[in-house]
Symmetry: C2
Subunit: 403 residues, 2 copies
């Protein structure tokens, strides 16, 4: 039998698992990438509401769209930056900008902490988007980074479509940017096709070679947004992009709740600086604004994320919540639910409900009631009220004996 | 500059990427795990509808709940098995059963292709669920596998909570099962806490050691359901569990559309045996039955999975759809959408709409119209009809010159 130490470390229950991650910064881009979600059109008061809630949760950076992206954007951004400063928010505002003098000058006017420059680096985007060579992209990016620094601001460059860019092209651009003193470089999986293994290998190239901080932004087209963020962090990435509920272009990017669930499940210490109870409120707020429900597959905040249904599950959960939970709902201000009104319910769940109703019944009665519930729920969907009615209308066998 | 061959292979556009995966079987468990989703209560006609649609898509296995899980289950399952046989479906029915003589005998009565036995193997479930030792679990499982084989059926064992089970315990059970000739062993990430790296390492232990086929079932509590399925396949797993839209206990498991998007993006050959155009119909059918929308983050089938919005994106998409797409919507019978009615729209998208309306306008006019659309959409949400109105009411500058 081989040494099983690593597996045991991973098998120790909720946390911690084995991980290389020491700390991470969260960049929320709900107000930029999220605005690119087809259903999103945030009014200015809604943007302020979202930014304030993000600051309450404690994200490290709030990315906003360019001041030239729509009319009034400059005025709105300037007001937002000043309001967040007044509230002494620790969340720093970064403005997403093309590598374009006019755009950057307007972005600087907003008083934001920094400028998130971006430009396509893959052959696809060189051809279909801007028509510039790698050398030109590199030169333009470096000049603009130096310009932003000359104004005393944080300068980031995003290499759009980084995971379909030739590695040698990326290394060429990154070496120049590192020399120019760029603060952070973002490597986005713009089309959402990268695998966690590719992300790990490629991000490691940058974290081990360069002085700048490494940022990752992962789309969800092939369902790997959260896992790719994890892979980037394991390879040493310093900053991860998320949006509330993962909204963005197409089917979106890594969700804030997905990232938090992933970090928390590795080691709760990794998310101790955030106000976790604000997370469900944030998702509910944005869902309400958009008029879309929180998806049933969303980690932590899905309506049923902590609902247990099958009899085998509810039985075990009643003894030890860790039996079927890798996250503690109470840390997020959420209550665990046992969905006992179903045809696959079990007698331990029914017994727990009987105790909640402050009734006392023998095991034999619980078994009979359980069968009644399963039978009723087999005919049509029933509610907890129906279950309670079945429990209360049951004539205990011991009552007969005592008579 | 280092050899960039692997990255180039991954940067070649849509497909194929580098992968170890040669083939994979899909086990859909919408009718068992999916039924454990809090909102699910499928009527028998709905189950037949879902099973028939799964067979049309061409999943390899359809897993159904135990015949003892609710009243009438035996009768329903027997009818379902016989109906699928009559339709000459290639999808084989597997019945999910506790390691229990009575359950298995009833499951055999249904005429199903095989029996999916399962039992908790982690310390958590040994303690909170069944109280049996690893030796007892192993002996019971082997005896039941031999019994199922004596009846001429396919026998699978599922090691519930495999990723929190000590590796030595799993290897002990697996060695005995392999000796007993089990056909397939499922290693579920029951609590959804495993990382893709852990899944890869652990699954590799089983695929390299044993003769049985390896199956994986991954919950989504930390957002890694799809990526963990990928990791299992890269480590040689033969069969992956999915449900339609990922429904299941809590926030569910790997979704069928997630798995298909992931495989397709690696190499379209890996999904050539499935009727891909049936996938959006399946998701719509189950969403309608459940009364929940398809989540906005679902790969392929989300309402906006192929909707492009930001001006920079629509410009590039109009030149080359691969610029921002890693999947071809037409392969799934889906149409690409350009969402041009927004304040972040661009002039290339407006020009494309002008051509669709069979109008001819100068670049200068397109630029003016684009600004009008961005301004209107900045004030309040607008529709495509509004855009068309703005286009049609625009007085071309050249018209003035010609007068």
């Amino acid at each position: 039998m081989e040494d099983t130490e690593p597996q045991n470390a991973a098998a120790n229950g909720i946390t911690p698992r084995r991980t290389n991650i020491k700390s991470v910064e969260i960049l929320d881009t709900t107000l930029r990438e999220g605005e690119q979600f087809s259903r999103a059109h945030f009014s200015f008061p809604q943007k302020i509401e979202i930014a304030t809630a993000l600051a309450r949760f404690g994200v490290d950076y709030i990315e906003v769209g360019s001041p030239v992206s729509y009319p009034n954007a400059l005025e709105e951004l300037t007001t937002m930056v000043s309001q967040l400063k007044k509230r002494n928010s620790n969340s720093k505002v970064l403005v997403h900008c093309r590598v374009n003098q006019e755009d950057v000058d307007m972005a600087l006017e907003t008083g934001a902490y920094g400028i998130n420059l971006f430009m396509g680096t893959s052959k696809f985007l060189q051809k279909a988007s801007h028509g510039k060579s790698v050398e030109e992209v590199s030169k333009l990016a470096c000049n603009m980074v130096e310009y932003v620094h000359s104004k005393g601001r944080f300068a980031r460059f995003g290499a759009e479509d980084a995971f379909r860019t030739d590695l040698k092209d990326l290394l060429y651009i990154c070496a120049a940017l590192d020399e120019a003193g760029v603060d952070q470089v973002d490597f986005p999986d713009t089309v959402g096709g990268a695998t966690p293994f590719e992300v790990y290998d490629r991000i490691l190239e940058f974290t081990k070679r360069f002085r700048f901080k490494v940022e990752f932004h992962g789309h969800n087209d092939t369902g790997c947004g959260v896992a790719n963020a994890l892979a980037a962090m394991e390879a040493g990435a310093h900053c991860i992009n998320v949006t509330v509920m993962g909204i963005g272009e197409r089917n979106g990017i890594c969700s804030l709740s997905g990232l938090v669930s992933r970090l928390y499940s590795l080691d709760r210490e990794l998310v101790k600086q955030y106000n976790l109870v604000e997370l469900p409120k944030l998702d509910k707020m944005v869902a309400t604004i958009l008029g879309v429900p929180i998806p049933h597959d969303m980690p932590i905040t899905a309506p049923n994320a902590f609902t247990h249904k099958a009899g085998i599950h509810t039985k075990a959960i009643l003894q030890d919540s860790q039996a079927y939970e890798v996250l503690r709902p109470e840390d997020f201000g959420i209550r665990r639910t046992l969905d006992i009104a179903s045809r696959i319910t079990g007698k331990h769940a029914i017994a727990a409900r009987v105790r909640e109703l402050e009734l006392e019944l023998e095991d034999a009665d619980i078994a009979i009631i359980t069968e009644k519930v399963r039978h009723a729920a087999g005919l049509e969907p029933i509610s907890l009220e129906n279950v309670d009615l079945i429990i209360k209308s049951h004539k205990p066998s011991s009552a007969g004996k005592e008579d």
